[in-house]
Every structure is written in structure tokens, then in C-alpha cells.
Amino acid sequence: MTATPIELHGLSKTYRLGFLMNRKVRALDGLDMTIAPGQVYGLLGPNGAGKSTTIKIVMNLVQATSGTARLFGKPPTDTAIRRMVGFVPENPAPYEYLTGREFVQLAADLGGVPQSDVRARTTEVLESVGMTRAADLQIRRYSKGMIQRIALAQAVVHRPALLILDEPTSGLDPVGRRMVRDFILAERQRGTTVLFCTHIIPDVETLCDRVAVLVNGQRVREGGVAELLSKSNPQMEVVLDGLSEAKVRSLGRTLDEVQTLDTRLLVRCRDAEAQQLVAQVLQAGGRVITLQPTRFTLEDLFLQALGEAKHGTVGGEIL
């Protein structure tokens, strides 16, 4: 049986700040999370929600204050397990004095790619991210999009089973964003497990199997994207004709919103109300033109979760 790529239990992190280290900020508060093999898992949240801290703990860049993190069953401090992991940090900063090719080769050497395969593997990944032509230029000459491509190439040169990306599309133009999305989809096709965090919601909606929403270091939603959206689909939209607004309101149903559209009426209400409303409208001699669920996006879910959170703010909780 394949080991679980990522398991987090009660993960907490409190940063100590200030010259005397006496100011505390709780970045993560008892996070539980499991990512199954082959999943593309999105971590959503506003700035300071704890997304990057989670990833940094998993990558052993930061030590958890309490709780456990496991990568394929091993702690993040186990250096050998990192052979199975590829990582792209937020705003990646490869060594500027190296060329793109040299940097990917360095990553291949460190990632344990057999010596005889380093050249071929480097050429292959550079091609896969569209960097063949610029591969021999020094990285200091690269644009942000090109640096992101090199960062992706170095993350997969050793063919990891798990890919962790911190804000991979942030600051990229539409072409760059599209490239990153295609890259993640290609990795998913290969069976790679992907964890990425972002606050760009359409990316999560397009790419992820599962998603967790973090607010103030706590997980406030978790589930499959479709499941979360269907669960959170509270409203129906009914377009009626042949009845006045006053008449519709007098039917005794709880309506969230009524708008007049020329001769028609657009009514938004809860699902259970909508079924009875339709029956009553037909009985009263009106016509039902359309009846459809309102589209509830991940963005709505995200904002709803943020609104429900204790502080609904950014930057972690100051203790």
C-alpha cells in the first residue's frame, strides 16, 4: 500500500517576534489534514491564514510548535524522504549567477538523479517548461515568468511523487498562469500528488480534487471541490411571468430577493421554499419560465468561511 503523502495532526505554530522575542503570533492552530496519493490538493486562505507556514513546516523550513507532520509516513526532518518531494517556494529565488541549465543540474545532483541521467533529465525538464532557448542565460537576466519556469523544472527534475507549490501563479501574467496550470495538470496526469496554496480561487476550482480553506491558522472548510460547492448551494433562482411582485410576496413564502425584469420577476429563495413557490405560482395562474440553482463559486465559499471566522482578518492571531 502506498504511504500517505502528507498527514498533519494538530499542527500549530507560534512565531516569537521582536528583539526580546516576547511578542507572539499564532500562525497555525491545530491543523489536521490528510492528502491521499494522486490528489491535487488546494490550500486556500487570505494572507496570513497559515498556508505558507503549513508548507514550510512540511518542507522543514520552519519547526512546528506542536503537533506532527508526516511525509510518506516520515517526519519532515528525514532528509532521505525529500527525494520523493519537489518544492517551489513563493517568489522562488534561484542562484542568479547560475544559468537556468546549471541550476536545474544542481537540483538534479542534490535530488539524487543518477549521474549518467543528469544531462538528459535536465534537457527534458527544461523543454517541458519551455525554457530550452533561454537555458544557457544567467538567471539574473530572466523575467519573473522565466524564473517560475526554472523553479518548476528544478522541482520535478528528480521525478518526485509529491509536488508542493507555494503560490505558484502569484504575480504571473495570464500566459504564465496558464503555463503553471498546464504544468500541474500534466503532473497530475503522471500520478504525482500535488499540494499547492494560493489565494487565486479560479486556479483551485480548475485544478483541485480537494480543497481546504484556512482562516487564522485554522481549517474552516475541507472537502472535494464539487462536494463543497453542492453543500453550500443554498439558493434557487426562479423567473416568473404573469404575476405582480405584490401578488408573489402575498403567497406567504420567505423570499430572499425579488427583482422586476420588464414583465417578469426574478426571485431568489431557499431550495425548499422554491419548490412550494413554483406550485403556488402555477396555482395562481402565473408561469414559471426558469428554475435553476444560483451558481455558488469557491469564491463565495471562501468569503463565507472568512466571514464566519472569529476575526476574519489577515496576518495570524496576535497573542
Partner: protein, 256 residues
């Protein structure tokens, strides 16, 4: 593990080679060494002695400056620019990363030292100054001083910023060369506290004068094998302790 070590070490060497500051310093080092031959115009009797002394001192100053510049800014620069994120997240322990980075620095310094040493010997040959054993030994012992200063710079830079690290390392360079004098002065003092302080400075802080054989080189005085071997071992052991402390601190550090 060995492959990762060499990959990081050679990358450090490559970084220094492509760094303009290193190149400019190396160029000026060459100029400085060659300019020591100008003393032919101002000294006749003690020409060989002065040439050896100035040549070795020039080499020492340049390499010490470079070792402090390279070591004190290296880790903090890696952390500040976040280049470290893409290396320590590879199957590489932080300890290995730190030791390999130090080895990269030492490789750069060694290459420069060999080049400068060769240039100096060539100059001696052209000016018919005899090359003695103590001169070669003085060049060699400088390497241990560079190692110790680099290790100290790394230790500082594993938890402090580049300015603090540079300040402490430069201070330690001066204190390290003066610790013998400080001890002698403290011993003569009537204040007991000062005597203890002098002893602490002498025994705890590095004694860099042990690696300074320029006087013996310029006067052609042989240094007993026991003395320079003991100094070398002292340098290696002291550097090992500093690196061990640096690894301990660096392993626990959060990279935000």
C-alpha cells in the same frame, strides 16, 4: 551525500568566481603583491627581508578581508534572498549544507592563496630573493587563520545579520592577534578582575598569532615542526568547534 557535498561546494566556488567583488579583490591583490617590488628603490641592505615581509603581509590582508567578506554575508544573504529555500528542501541536511558552503569558501580562498603565493614566489625569483622554508610555512599557516576566521564568520552568520557578523569577526581578528599582549598586560595588573578577564580572553578566544610566522619568514628563522603542527591542529580543532556550534544553531533556525 558526498555528491551533494561536492555539488554545493563547487557551486560556492563558482559563485565566488562569478562575483565581481572577488575578482576585483583578486586583481588588487595581484597589483599589491607586484607593487611590493617598488621597495627596491627605498631599501638596499634589508631588501629581501622587507620584500618577504610586505609580500606576506599584503597576501594576508587581502585574504583575511576576503574570508570575512565571503563568510559573514553568505548564510544571511542566502536566507534574506531566500535562495536557501530551494537547497535545504532537497535531500540535504542543514549541517551538510553549512559545511559544504564553508568548504566552497575555503576552496575559493585556497585557490586565491595558491595563485597569490605563486605570484609572490615568481616575484622573489625575478628579484633574486631567496625562497626559504619559513617563507613557504608562513604562507601555509595563513590558511589555518583563514579557516578559523571563515568558521567564525559562518557561526555568526548562522544566527545574525551580515553587519553584526562582520563586526564581530573583524573584532575577533584584532583581539585574536592581540590576545597574547592582552594576557601579558592583564597579568601585570593589580586588579584581579582584569587578570581573570585577560586569562579568559587568552584561553577562550582564538589565538591568531599562532598562525603568524611572517617574522620568522623574513628573518629566515626555522620554526620547529612541533610548533607549527600544534598550531595547525589548534586551528583545525577551533574551527571544528565553531562549525559544530554553527550547525547546532542553524539546524534549529526557522526560515520565514
Amino acid at each position: 551525500m558526498i555528491r551533494s557535498f561536492w555539488a554545493i561546494t563547487f557551486n560556492g566556488f563558482r559563485e565566488a568566481r562569478r562575483n565581481r567583488v572577488t575578482l576585483v579583490l583578486a586583481f588588487f591583490a595581484g597589483l599589491l603583491l607586484l607593487s611590493s617590488s617598488l621597495i627596491t628603490d627605498i631599501t638596499v641592505v634589508t631588501f629581501d627581508r622587507v620584500l618577504i615581509d610586505i609580500g606576506l603581509a599584503g597576501m594576508s590582508v587581502i585574504l583575511v578581508l576576503l574570508s570575512i567578506f565571503l563568510s559573514t554575508g553568505l548564510l544571511s544573504r542566502e536566507i534574506e534572498r531566500r535562495t536557501i529555500f530551494m537547497v535545504v528542501t532537497k535531500p540535504v541536511s542543514r549541517g551538510l549544507f553549512l559545511v559544504a558552503r564553508l568548504a566552497g569558501n575555503m576552496l575559493t580562498l585556497t585557490a586565491l592563496q595558491v595563485l597569490m603565493g605563486a605570484l609572490l614566489l615568481l616575484e622573489f625569483k625575478v628579484l633574486r630573493t631567496p625562497v626559504t622554508g619559513p617563507t613557504i610555512l608562513a604562507m601555509g599557516m595563513l590558511w589555518f587563520e583563514l579557516l578559523l576566521l571563515s568558521a567564525l564568520g559562518f557561526l555568526m552568520s548562522s544566527f545574525a545579520g551580515p553587519m553584526t557578523s562582520a563586526f564581530v569577526t573583524v573584532s575577533m581578528f584584532f583581539v585574536g592577534h592581540l590576545s597574547g599582549d592582552i594576557y601579558t598586560l592583564a597579568r601585570r595588573s593589580k586588579n584581579e578582575g582584569l587578570q581573570v578577564l585577560g586569562k579568559v580572553i587568552y584561553y577562550v578566544l582564538p589565538n591568531l598569532e599562532r598562525f603568524n610566522l611572517r617574522g620568522q619568514a623574513s628573518y629566515g628563522v626555522d620554526v620547529p615542526t612541533k610548533v607549527w603542527v600544534a598550531s595547525g591542529v589548534y586551528g583545525l580543532a577551533y574551527a571544528a568547534i565553531l562549525v559544530w556550534l554553527a550547525v547546532l544553531l542553524f539546524r534549529r533556525r526557522d526560515f520565514r
